[in-house]
């Protein structure tokens, strides 16, 4: 393994310390627990929290900021934080109006987050959760809770906090987060697996002449492969899959995320976006301010996650809300 790290054991400490060197003006680490928090959270608003394993940077530490996530509890590399870290994040985010924990649908994240939420409730905080799932190839449409949380969670990380910042009640914030999730679909294609920084081993196996489609954010295997083909074919095929599953129609306007998984060049992301745009044009579907970049990564996985979220005026307004979170596009 060649990676610019010191040692597997110091990755978490080294990265978090450096992250704070860059972002100390607005962000802090809470003593004794693994939580990145905003230094000043506006009073009288519902808190937004997420707990997740590290290794996906800039997600999710980079999504902490004004009009975004208030506190992020982080675990070890690709492993969920224990409940005490998530509980600490909930306590820090609570301004008396309750806290919504966004949970990307993975067994460890769901379990540890739900335990922490129950503890917070026992301790008198109105904590709720919304499970985020968006990966269309991980399970059939009628089993949404079997679907994994992948890059499309980006829309919720970006907009649930913007909605909460407007002063909505916790019931309303939960409903909005569920609504954004329900309007979102994602599919991910990969050419080259990422390498675990802990073991030095590839996180999945992908044959030379194939793309794997439906791969998860930790390199979880999919049952589907495609022969290597031009971007136009891959992009139109993936767009078609999302349109069918999400039931997007001619006349709809979508948020489009073209997310690089770590190794993918901006060149490839742009070419891929161009092909997505052509396909959506052919279907009479419009695009509202796309996000193109590597936001939710799987180490150096060479892959692209394509996510759509259907908009209306309310969603567009949330998407346009400025944020100072370092990991979001400006």
């Amino acid at each position: 393994m060649k990676k610019f790290i010191n040692a597997p054991e110091t990755i978490v400490r080294d990265m978090i310390e450096a992250f704070l060197l860059v972002n100390w003006k607005r962000l802090k680490k809470i003593d004794g627990i693994q939580v990145i928090a905003r230094k000043s959270i506006e009073p009288d608003k519902v808190g937004i929290v997420i707990g997740n394993g590290l290794g996906h940077e800039p997600a999710c530490i980079g999504f902490v900021g004004k009009n975004a996530i208030d506190c992020n509890a982080y675990g070890h590399i690709f492993s969920a934080p224990g409940p005490k870290h998530i509980l600490g994040a909930i306590q820090e985010a609570d301004q008396g109006k309750g806290v919504v924990v966004l949970i990307s649908n993975h067994a460890g994240d769901v379990l540890n987050s739900r335990i922490a939420i129950n503890w917070a409730r026992e301790d008198g905080i109105d904590a709720r959760y919304v499970i985020l799932y968006d990966d269309v190839l991980s399970a059939p449409k009628d089993q949404p809770l079997e679907r994994r949380g992948t890059a499309g969670s980006f829309f919720n990380y970006r907009m649930a906090g913007a909605y909460a910042a407007k002063g909505h009640s916790i019931d309303e914030v939960v409903l909005m987060a569920e609504r954004i999730r329900n309007l979102t679909r994602t599919v991910t294609v990969a050419a080259i697996p990422g390498t675990s920084p802990l073991s030095g081993e590839p996180m999945s196996q992908i044959d030379e002449d194939e793309y794997e489609i439906g791969i998860g954010v930790h390199g979880e295997a999919s049952a589907h492969t495609l022969p290597v083909a031009p971007a136009s074919e891959i992009a139109s095929g993936m767009s078609q899959l999302l349109i069918q599953d999400g039931e997007y129609l001619s006349g709809d306007e979508l948020l489009v995320l073209v997310n690089g998984c770590g190794q993918t060049t901006y060149m490839e992301l742009l070419i891929f976006f161009g092909e997505v745009k052509k396909y959506l044009d052919s279907q009479g579907i419009r695009i509202y301010k796309p996000a193109i970049g590597s936001f939710i990564t799987t180490q150096e996985m060479g892959g692209i996650a394509l996510a759509f979220c259907k908009t209306d005026d309310g969603i567009k307004q949330l998407w346009d809300t400025p944020t100072d979170a370092p990991g979001f596009p400006k």
């Binding site: 224990g82 409940p83 067994a107 379990l111 540890n112 335990i115």
Partner: protein
Amino acid sequence: MFNNRQVYTLLGEITQMFVDKQQELSRYDAVIGDGDHGFSIARGCQAGFLAVSSLEKESSIQDYFKIYGRELTNEVGGAMRPLFGLLFTEIGKSCANKDWIGLDELAIGLKSALEYISELGGAKVGDKTMVDAITPTVHSLMGSLKAHEDLVNALEKAVKAAKEGVKSTIPLRARMGRSKYLKERSIGYQDAGATSFYYLLNTIWNYAAKENAL
């Protein structure tokens, strides 16, 4: 019934037992798990006991169980192992505002732990998890509660039921976690989580018998 001081002593005995059994429990786990079950639970219990040891001398039974369970849950790691700590936190909840724990609190606490663990973990009887040992235990304890049996007798029966539950996991194929290939290999081995639960209950029974608790 036990008072708060006895609960503190009991938690110490449970911790020591899991330290003693860590090699054995990890061996059961090595077949389909990461082989870390026993070490992980022992580490969790030690963290739990360290935390309750720093509480004030006359803390409530609820707090002893709650702090022990929360620390255990935090320490163990893994996708499903944190559920084990919920046995303690749920027993703690059934002792809210009480100066003692008896058959009522234990039975009701374990019943609610079973419901909570099943809900969060998604395991049912027959999935080769600790649910296979907890379920017959709860049935047994609830039966004893109805029949107004004393704590030691009720625990003796419950331990037998738990042991049967552990045995029932041997021919089962694991359904939760890990890959399909590994799940097939699980047939013929008892489940580590179910075994841990059995040892936990057995320790409570031994302590109740030693203290002549009613």
